[in-house]
């Protein structure tokens, strides 16, 4: 167990380092000095409290969308519609906040809005599970297309019902500061949503590995036929898994709207759905691993933006870096299995010699 844990850390750190080396070579092709670039990257994230805290601000929605992908993945389902579920969540969060902010006390508004967001996005998500269960539709395609529908709904509402008072731009009115998510550290943007995200990761881990429901979800994921023969209603599991998955992605909408943007702008955070898939894969679907993977991606995002501003290196190099890191982390997974097998082999050889 100890050797395994050591392998886990060593190989993953190696993978990240290799990811940086490989992207460094790419930077060389741009006729820039990678060492300088990384120096800027590192110093920029650490230069002040505000920037550093922003890593966790960026990591917050990523944790939710990564969980959304990972959760259905455990039931052998593919939810690649987290982006759309996030938008639905964001729409509900902004509408709910604007509606309740002058009616209910602020803490109650936040609570009610969170519940509504999670429920609404969950129902939106469970529709994918429903068509899968009822008509055996391919959930991959349905979830993919549902994102465009969600996007269209959001754009429509932003031009009609939710459009700002001035009626100029397709964006909502700003939220009253009373319904902003409270800050954890003043002078930064870091809000309580980060804590919520980490707790959710832990909660999802418990749900999957410690409860009968999570057990059934995994059983359906590994072998749906055996689960059916054992009296587990896999159709119910499909719908439920997509409900939870949608709810998780929707929660990102809540933390982004009430925690960071404080309003709804057309097409914001357009890449957190795909980034979530990357993070989930990076973490091998493990909810606890997602916490760390999301923070890594958050750091790359924050550092990359500043690096782009300061050293004339296109910010897209960060995406390249994310890609390289992901490839090496996946390779590290195979390396670990290989190391583990060899260890077992040596143990066996030794045992035989005695």
């Amino acid at each position: 167990m100890n050797a395994k844990l050591r392998d886990l850390f060593v190989t993953n750190i190696m993978a990240i380092v290799l990811g940086f080396v490989a992207s460094g070579i790419m930077i060389l092709f741009l006729n820039k000095n990678p060492i300088d670039a990384y120096y800027v990257l590192l110093t920029s994230i650490l230069r002040d409290q505000y920037t550093f805290a922003d890593i966790f601000v960026k990591a917050t929605p990523l944790m939710f969308t990564a969980l959304a992908f990972a959760f259905t993945y455990k039931a052998n389902l593919y939810n690649i519609g987290a982006q759309g579920q996030f938008y639905i969540g964001a729409v509900i969060a902004v509408a709910g906040s604007l509606f309740f902010e002058n009616i209910l006390p602020s803490w109650l508004t936040l609570f009610v809005v969170l519940i509504l967001t999670v429920l609404g996005a969950g129902i939106w998500g469970s529709f994918i599970g429903f068509v899968k269960a009822r008509y055996n539709a391919n959930e991959f395609l349905v979830s993919l297309m549902s994102t465009y529908v969600a996007l269209a709904i959001m754009n429509y509402l932003l031009r009609t019902v939710l459009i700002e008072g001035k009626g100029e731009y397709p964006q909502s009115d700003p939220l009253n500061s009373s319904v902003w998510l409270p800050k954890i550290i003043s002078g930064t943007r870091l809000h309580i949503g980060f804590v919520l995200a980490v707790l959710t990761c832990i909660g999802i881990w418990i749900l999957l590995y410690k409860t009968p429901l999570g057990y059934r979800i995994r059983a359906v994921g590994y072998n749906a036929e055996a689960a059916r023969m054992s009296g587990i209603n896999s159709k119910k599991i499909y719908i439920l898994a997509f409900f939870i998955s949608g709810a998780l992605a929707g929660a990102a909408g809540f933390t982004e709207v009430n925690g960071v943007q404080h309003m709804l702008v057309q097409g914001f955070n357009a890449d957190i759905g795909t980034a979530g898939i990357g993070i989930a894969i990076l973490a091998n679907g493990n909810p606890i691993g997602i916490i760390f993977a999301a923070i890594l991606f958050g750091a790359l995002k924050v550092g990359g933006t500043i690096m782009g501003q300061m050293s004339n290196i296109p910010t897209s190099i960060i995406e390249l870096m994310q890609g390289f890191v992901m490839v090496f982390v996946i390779l590290a997974y195979f390396l670990r299995t290989w190391l583990d097998n060899n260890r077992e082999k040596r143990k066996l050889q030794k045992a035989v010699l005695k």
């Binding site: 418990i206 410690k210 409860t211 009968p212 995994r218 059983a219 590994y222 055996a226 066996l348 035989v352």
Partner: protein, 506 residues
């Protein structure tokens, strides 16, 4: 002694957590049929896959005619004249025989005419009746195997390894195969036969290598041994056969499960079960005989609740359970050991403990404050591991890492517990070695004595005869009749299975 054609010297192979082969040494001479005998998991297939280049050896050496050789891939092996016919054929079913023959070694332009000539010559030479232009999907299994053999011959193999070649063949086809083997070795070639059937070994082999636990435990000439000695070597101890104590005539008159005129029919298709009526008493083993695919699986599933009958009724202790689903039937005490255990019976990627609660995850007894109670579950699993002598170091071992026999024991342990009243066994010993078969039989008989009602579906007649109180014969979804076990002879049941009524002339 002359130099061996091929020689394996102290070969060891370790898989994660298991020793597959340890210091395996034996040789094969030219013109010899070598049988590799052993139970499932004894390491027969592994050592052959090493010789064929599918696995890499961890220790040891391989020699051909005295010279050391390295085999890194099947391609290397074929270059040395080794060819292996796997248990599951590696043919492309949408291609023709000819196209399959050249698969993997074709370069440049294909000279179809020349090729067909060559194949024709080969088939005629060995008396194989195969059309080179037939599609694989249209061929019977026996013919597909011939194509595999032809492929090997076409590649000029002089050592042919066959992994359980007769498992898929009818007795007639097996005989033809044996004939071919004799002809093939008469030309100075060699054959290695992997098998666990003793009869086959005695009929075809010149020399026999017996393997147990990854090691060679016997290297015998056929003339020097007999079936009994071989079976002892193979199992490592004398086998005590489970036998029903015929004095225990304790079937009660009480009917537990009653099936009334049940028909199962998909729309616009031939019914898979036709107007079936059966009664299952307390403390009774009802054997269901029949050629596989005559409605056995549907019968089991209609009782377990996996499918609902199109018409007819099912009663358990007088209560109508016709429309009840799987989960309700589990709760009512109906256990089911399905024929395809890896598909229907367990989750390969989960641990033994997790597989134990597959059917009862809703049950409060595994829960504490809504969470799965690991402690209780592990205690329970340990108890079952002990009771069923499942070879596993701990309850958290992933079931995939167990041998087939031990996997079956896990399912058995679970279903015996689930089936408080009725247990359905569908082909419970298929693919198991002798020791495990015996264990399964013992379990069935024990549960019968406890008063449970057992439905035993099997295509092995010996199993049906050894365990059943009464025997029902299924043919094309219909019950040909239900008989007391001493009313039937093998001959009579054979006729019934083929669709004849008793008394009818064949």
């Amino acid at each position: 002694m002359e130099t061996a054609f091929f020689e394996l010297n102290k070969i060891s192979k370790y898989f994660a957590k298991v020793i597959a082969n340890k210091d395996v040494s034996f040789s094969i001479q030219s013109g010899e049929v070598l049988a590799l005998l052993g139970e499932n998991g004894a390491g027969k297939s592994t050592i052959m896959k090493i010789l064929y280049g599918l696995y890499k050896l961890d220790e040891g050496k391989i020699f051909k005619e005295g010279k050391e050789i390295k085999i890194h891939s099947p391609k290397d092996a074929m270059g040395l004249g080794i060819s292996m016919i796997q248990q599951h054929f590696s043919l492309v079913s949408s291609h023709t025989v000819t196209e399959n023959m050249i698969l993997g070694n074709v370069h440049g332009v294909i000279d179809k005419k020349l090729l067909r000539e060559e194949i024709k010559k080969l088939t005629e030479f060995y008396g194989f009746n195969i059309n080179p232009d037939a599609y694989i999907r249209d061929l019977a299994v026996g013919d597909q195997q011939k194509v595999e053999i032809l492929k090997a011959l076409y590649q000029k193999a002089n050592l042919l390894i066959m992994d359980e070649p007769t498992a898929v063949l009818t007795p007639q086809e097996s005989e033809n195969l044996m004939k071919f083997v004799r002809e093939f070795v008469a030309k100075g070639n060699s054959v290695i036969f992997i098998t666990h059937k003793l009869k086959e070994v005695m009929s075809v082999a010149d020399r026999i290598i017996v393997m147990r636990n990854g090691m060679v435990c016997g290297d015998l000439k056929k003339e020097e041994t007999n079936e009994l000695d071989l079976s002892k070597l193979m199992i490592g101890k004398d086998l005590i056969l489970a036998n029903r104590d015929l004095t225990q005539k304790m079937i009660s008159k009480e009917v537990r499960l009653e099936i009334q005129n049940v028909t199962v029919q998909e729309e616009a298709e031939i019914p898979t079960l036709k107007d079936i009526s059966l009664k299952l008493h307390k403390g009774e083993v009802l054997g269901v005989a029949g050629v596989s695919g005559n409605g056995q699986e549907e019968l089991c599933e209609v009782i377990s609740g996996a499918i609902l009958p199109t018409s007819g009724k099912i009663f358990l202790d007088g209560e109508d359970i016709t429309q009840k689903g799987i989960r309700e039937k589990i709760d009512m005490g109906i256990g089911y050991v399905p024929a395809d255990r890896s598909r229907d019976g367990m989750v390969m990627d989960m641990s033994i403990a997790e597989n134990m609660i597959l059917k009862s995850s809703f049950d409060k007894k595994w829960q504490k404050h809504g969470f799965i109670d690991k402690k209780i579950l592990n205690q329970y699993t340990l108890k079952e591991i002990d009771e069923y002598s499942i070879k596993a170091p701990s309850p958290s071992v992933v079931i995939q890492d167990l041998s087939g026999g031990n996997q079956q024991k896990v399912i058995l342990a679970r279903e015996v517990d689930n089936g408080k009243k009725v247990i359905i066994f569908d082909q419970p010993t298929r693919g198991l070695d002798l020791g495990a078969v015996n264990h399964v039989h013992q379990v069935i008989l024990n549960e019968r004595v406890k008063g449970k009602s057992i439905l035993l579906v099997s295509t092995e007649l010996s199993e049906i005869f050894a365990l059943s109180d009464r025997i029902a014969v299924l043919y094309k979804g219909e019950v040909q009749g239900v008989f007391h076990h001493d009313e039937l002879t093998t001959e009579k049941i054979g006729l019934l299975m083929a669709g004849y009524q008793v008394g009818e002339e064949s």
